[in-house]
């Protein structure tokens, strides 16, 4: 099938346009459009996975056409072992988040139009091989996200939306400067990511350091790493449930994806130079995030801060720049965190819909009152705290094993995060699920069929990757081996 990636990216956009033509009060019809427009890319993902040849690091499904010839801008798409899992995660989470959004009743038409536009932006980022295109999608994503938080969000939605928007935009400016620098230092002027990776050995050390730092600011805000993370709790907490799912599940991964796609292969010398600082930042994020989680009283904020902690593992893993295990661990953590945190946000939304509060202390004994919900929640929490047999453990172990030979003491400190994570999650479980029935628990009703459907695929994948990680590692291994080679090749 030719143009597979284009279809994947633009089907949601077509859906958004179609949705705009629907009568505004026919919610069923609009939801139907959104359902189809997110389901089709998911089906295409299956095709993508089936056709993807995992034995090579080459870009596949490449589409290339001149777009603005005067500036040497091309419409250039392609996917490799780093992009394919991210595309799959995006289409899956978008579909499930669309299901989760079916309980939205306010301005349904606009909601789904923005939602679908957001999916187009996200998929575009993961498939672009041209800086211009990459930057366009990167910014396209911001706009619907701004409105989704700002209109359908919680009490402090305006503040959160503006903070998210400006913070990301602030980072994008640095990226833009670096992209322009790359453009004007290349002859002929080029915006092709692949070409810049190829000319990496010719870049001077000073230029690499400069460009790496500028890109890193943009990506670090997205991940987010310490100390650029404070937009995250606000945005995640104020956003409607489905948007939190996408924020945590997909948007955060763009930071780490950008580093792996652009910074690492393009500036290998700078990457090696900054490896240790990245490991320190990662470990600091793990420990700091976990400690801040311990002080949370709002369940959604706890999950939000746990993302800060868990994305720290990604940074530690990728800091092990010479290790296939470390960078694979980073990829695993990106996927695993997307699955688990996506589900956790969905499940937080489930009780918020019913009790209209997320205060941890407002609940107690939920395992008695809503056993099915509690069982599912505890399963995902166990995944998040790295229980063996679930995907979180695999990624943490890969990260540690990959990074330990390089940063022994730093990683050993990071291992403490495993304990701190257990501490805050078990504290939450004890307060909300164990003990006698208390507080708002009495108002809760059992999780419904639609909500179960929304988290079941995530649970299955979490368990499957936990038991048999080769499902994913086979897909990414050649690409990551190639990446490790590229990073080492600049010496």
């Amino acid at each position: 099938m030719s143009g597979l990636l284009s279809w994947m990216i633009f089907l949601p956009l077509i859906g958004a346009i179609v949705a705009l033509f629907m009568p505004k009060d026919n919610h069923r019809l609009i939801r139907g459009v959104a359902f189809v427009a997110t389901l089709l890319p998911l089906i295409l993902t299956v095709v993508l996975l089936a056709q993807y040849d995992p034995s090579t690091a080459e870009f596949q499904f490449v589409e290339k056409a001149a777009w603005i010839p005067g500036l040497n801008v091309n419409y250039h798409l392609g996917a490799d072992g780093i992009a394919v899992p991210m595309l799959a995660l995006t289409t899956l989470l978008s579909f499930l988040a669309a299901l989760v959004s079916f309980n939205i009743t306010k301005r349904v038409k606009e909601y789904f139009a923005f939602f679908l536009l957001l999916e187009t932006g996200m998929l575009g980022v993961f498939a672009s091989l041209d800086f211009f295109l990459f930057y366009v999608f990167w910014e396209v994503m911001l706009v619907p996200m701004y409105f989704l938080i700002g209109i359908w969000g919680g009490p402090r939605k305006e503040y959160a939306a503006i903070k998210f928007f400006l913070y990301t935009l602030f980072g994008s400016i640095f990226m833009l400067v670096a992209v322009l620098a790359l453009y004007f230092t290349s002859t002929p002027h080029s915006l092709s990511i692949i070409e810049h990776i190829q000319r990496a050995p010719q870049m001077t050390r000073g230029f690499q350091l400069f460009a790496f730092v500028f890109f890193f600011i943009a990506f670090a805000i997205k991940i987010p790493t310490l100390p650029f993370h404070t937009w995250l709790p606000d945005a995640h907490v104020e956003a409607p449930t489905a948007v939190s799912v996408l924020l945590a599940g997909v948007l955060l991964k763009m930071g780490t994806y950008g580093l792996l796609r652009i910074s690492f292969p393009m500036f290998p010398e700078a990457t090696r130079f900054f490896a240790w600082p990245m490991a320190i930042l990662g470990v600091a994020g793990i420990i700091y995030g976990a400690m801040v989680c311990m002080a949370q009283t709002d369940l959604k904020k706890l999950v939000a801060y746990s993302s800060v902690s868990h994305m720290g593992y990604c940074l530690v893993g990728m800091a092990a720049v010479g290790s296939v295990a470390g960078i694979s661990g980073c990829m695993f953590q990106m996927v695993s965190h997307g699955l688990i945190t996506g589900a956790l946000f969905t499940l937080v939304g489930v009780i918020y819909d019913r009790a209209h509060t997320r205060e941890i202390n407002a609940f107690g004994g939920m395992w008695i009152k809503v056993p099915v919900y509690s069982g599912i929640m505890i399963l995902f929490v166990l995944g998040s705290l790295g229980l063996p047999g679930l995907s979180g453990f695999v990624s943490e172990f890969m990260v540690f094993l990959g990074a330990f030979p390089y940063f022994k003491i730093t990683v050993a400190i990071g291992v403490v995060g495993v304990l701190l994570t257990a501490a805050y999650f078990l504290r939450m479980i004890q307060k909300m699920f164990l003990g006698p029935v208390a507080g708002h628990t009495a108002e809760l009703t059992e999780i419904n069929f639609r909500e179960i459907v929304a988290v079941t695929p995530l649970a299955i994948l979490m368990i499957a990757l936990g038991i048999y990680p080769a499902l994913l590692s086979n897909l990414i291994q050649p690409t990551i081996e190639n990446l490790v080679r590229l990073i080492g090749a600049g010496a």
Binding site: P388, V411, G435, S473
Partner: protein
């Protein structure tokens, strides 16, 4: 036979899955499934044991679980040798007995099916742990065991104390697991493999050695400290009695807590290659043993006495292993599993009858529950190390392993004395004398057969299981667990006599104090109230953790959150506010200066125009006058 041994943990796993997903509404089917699964595993374990003991070759089966090249290559698989076979028998035997016993004990519990599902999960994890052929799979099972114990300890989670205890157990053992993880990372970094064979070869050939190996070994031992409740991480085990009593037997007597002992035994090659680490192990073991035994002397809760007894006996095993007594440690592991689970189940039977844990409210129960009393007495004799019960033989090996380290020998005998004393204090106070609580005594009754039969079965094992170590059998127990390098202390008649004497004197003292009442225990307690209170409060470990670790950590977390909100986010908001202020300033500057300049020019022009306007009067006289005036001025200037 052996090549399908991986099926052993699969049976309980399937039982768990089926119960959770399908039969959880049907109590009878759920229990039947679980018991059937563990019975199959039990029979399979015996079959394997006879195969292995007849043909002492290590069998390994493995496949690549994850292969990312040299940076991470993890094959997982199972290995079967004498030690594994012995552990399989111990685990399946106790698990089977406990599951049968639970039919009676948990009868009527609303979450009966879930209970069996969790027990199956636990059994599965524990069996995987002992079958693993590498540290990685062992760690995976290790954590699953931890999960199962969390769920089972907190099984009656409506009770605050139960859910507290579950959390405490999970987090405390996980603290030890940090050491386990770091140890694994070091080992993998050092030799590129985690399979037992590969790692031990690396130690033997010197690839791993020196300070690196010592550090790795001590970290690895951290895992054992947590799981096997050694000082200073022993605090979770006494609290874990909040769970259902049978659970407590399976977790704390036979299986979970010995996982740490098993870890040390399995990786003894590593510890023997790192002498400092081995001595650390031995010291931690004996300190734990002494401390726990001394606490056991004064506790009044029947379960608590047994809990500290377990901690103490685990310390024994750990110490023996640290001193190189592989056979001693593993032998005692086995015999202890039988007599201690018997003690726990006996205590459960008593609690089931009188509905209290406090031995001060018991007394004279022998008259009401003969089977429980007699089996309990057998177990007490066994743990006291009285000939010819199982504990005698294994304890003797432990004492023998301390030869050459006189300090250890003395302390070991001291612990033996205290053990005998507190066990018989417990026995006399519970089963003999006059009932101290008439009402509870009236209602007491012997437990149903489904509970007493497992007691009898375990009592038989508590007697005979030590006979493998008979001195006139070639190599004794070592031939069961340790084929390749015979490593067996010769049976030492002199030591045996001494330790028997020590045990008997402990019993004698208890007899005088609590049966004959010749010595008043209360007088001793009041005369040494400082020591007594320290022991009663378990050396204030819990209080110290609360004050030194938990509270400060929590305060620190609050502090970081404050820092996050007010400093980091304050900077962000400050930057935003600065942007807004700057914008306002610019607007003001715009309005004042830029607009001012523009307006000023406009105003000037208008003003100028307004002034000039007066010249344009349209009157010829004026114009004529101006022309005339101009001519005059020009003429003057000329």
């Amino acid at each position: 036979m052996l090549s399908y041994a991986w099926l052993i943990p699969v049976f309980p796993l399937c039982a768990m899955a089926v119960i959770m997903l399908l039969t959880h509404r049907n109590r009878v089917v759920s229990a039947a499934l679980s018991i059937t699964a563990v019975s199959i595993a039990f029979l399979y374990a015996w079959a394997i044991a006879f195969t292995v003991w007849g043909n002492p070759e290590v069998q390994r089966f493995s496949f690549d679980w994850l292969n990312l090249g040299p940076s991470m290559h993890i094959p997982i698989g199972i290995q079967i040798d004498g030690l594994t076979a012995m552990m399989l028998i111990v685990v399946t035997t106790v698990a089977l007995m406990v599951q049968i016993y639970s039919l009676g004990y948990m009868h009527g519990d609303p979450r009966f099916s879930r209970y069996y599902a969790f027990l199956s999960l636990f059994t599965m994890a524990m069996l995987t742990l002992v079958l693993a052929d590498n540290f990685f799979l062992m760690f995976v099972a290790w954590e699953l065991v931890g999960l199962a114990s969390y769920l089972l300890i907190g099984f009656w989670f409506e009770k605050q104390s139960a859910s507290d205890a579950g959390k405490k157990a999970f987090i405390t053992t996980r603290l030890g697991d940090l050491g386990f993880i770091i140890g694994l990372l070091m080992i993998y970094t050092g030799c590129g493999t985690l399979t037992f064979g590969g790692v031990f070869d690396a130690v033997k050939t010197g690839v791993l050695g020196g300070a690196f190996l010592t550090t790795a070994a001590i970290f690895l031992f951290g895992g054992a400290i947590g799981k096997s409740a050694q000082v200073p991480l022993h605090v979770w085990l006494p609290d874990a009695m909040e769970g259902p009593t049978p659970v407590w037997a399976v977790i704390h007597a036979a299986t979970m807590v010995v996982a740490g002992v098993y870890l040390v035994a399995r990786s003894l090659t590593i510890f023997m290659g790192a002498e400092t680490a081995a001595m650390t192990v031995a010291w931690i073991g004996i300190i734990t043993s002494l401390m726990a035994a001394s606490i056991g002397l004064v506790q009044n809760d029947i379960k608590r006495v047994l809990a500290f007894s377990t901690v103490s006996q685990l310390g024994y095993m750990i110490m023996a292993l640290g001193l190189g007594g592989f056979t001693a440690g593993t032998f005692h592991l086995m015999t202890h599993a039988f007599f201690k689970s018997l003690l726990f189940l006996g205590a459960g039977s008593v609690i089931h009858a009188v509905h209290t844990n406090d031995i001060r409210e018991m007394g004279g129960l022998h008259a009401k529950m003969k089977t429980t009393s007699i089996t309990f007495l057998i177990a007490a004799f066994a743990i006291a190390g009285i000939f010819p019960l199982s504990g005698f033989w294994s304890k003797d090996e432990i004492v023998a392993s301390t030869l050459g380290h006189p300090v250890f020998t003395v302390l070991t005998l001291l612990v033996a004395f205290m053990t005998a004393f507190y066990m018989f204090r417990l026995y006399f106070l519970t089963f003999t004398g006059t009932p101290r609580d008439k009402h509870k005594f009236e209602h007491a009754h012997e437990s149903p057969k489904v509970m007493t039969y497992p007691l009898i079965f375990l009592a038989v094992l508590s007697v005979v299981s030590g006979w493998i170590g008979l001195p006139w059998l070639h190599h004794g127990f070592s031939s069961v667990v340790y084929h390749h390098e015979p490593h067996h202390a010769e049976f030492h008649y002199g030591l045996a006599a001494i330790s028997l004497l020590v045990g008997l004197s402990g019993i004698g003292l208890a007899y005088l104090m609590y049966y004959k009442r010749r010595i008043d225990p209360d007088r001793i307690a009041t005369s040494m109230s400082g020591l007594y209170n320290t022991l009663l409060n378990k050396y204030y470990f819990d209080e110290a953790y609360e004050v030194l670790v938990i509270k400060p950590y929590y305060v620190m977390c609050q502090g970081w959150f404050w820092f996050d909100q007010h400093i980091i986010d304050g900077l962000v908001n400050g930057a935003g506010a600065f942007g807004v202020l700057w914008g306002r300033f610019q607007r003001w500057a715009d309005e004042t200066f830029v607009d001012g300049a523009v307006n000023g020019i406009g105003w000037l022009t208008r003003g100028f125009g307004a002034t000039i306007r007066y010249l344009q009067t349209g009157s010829l006289q004026n114009y004529a006058f101006i022309v005339f005036a101009a001519l005059v001025i020009l003429w003057i200037l000329r």
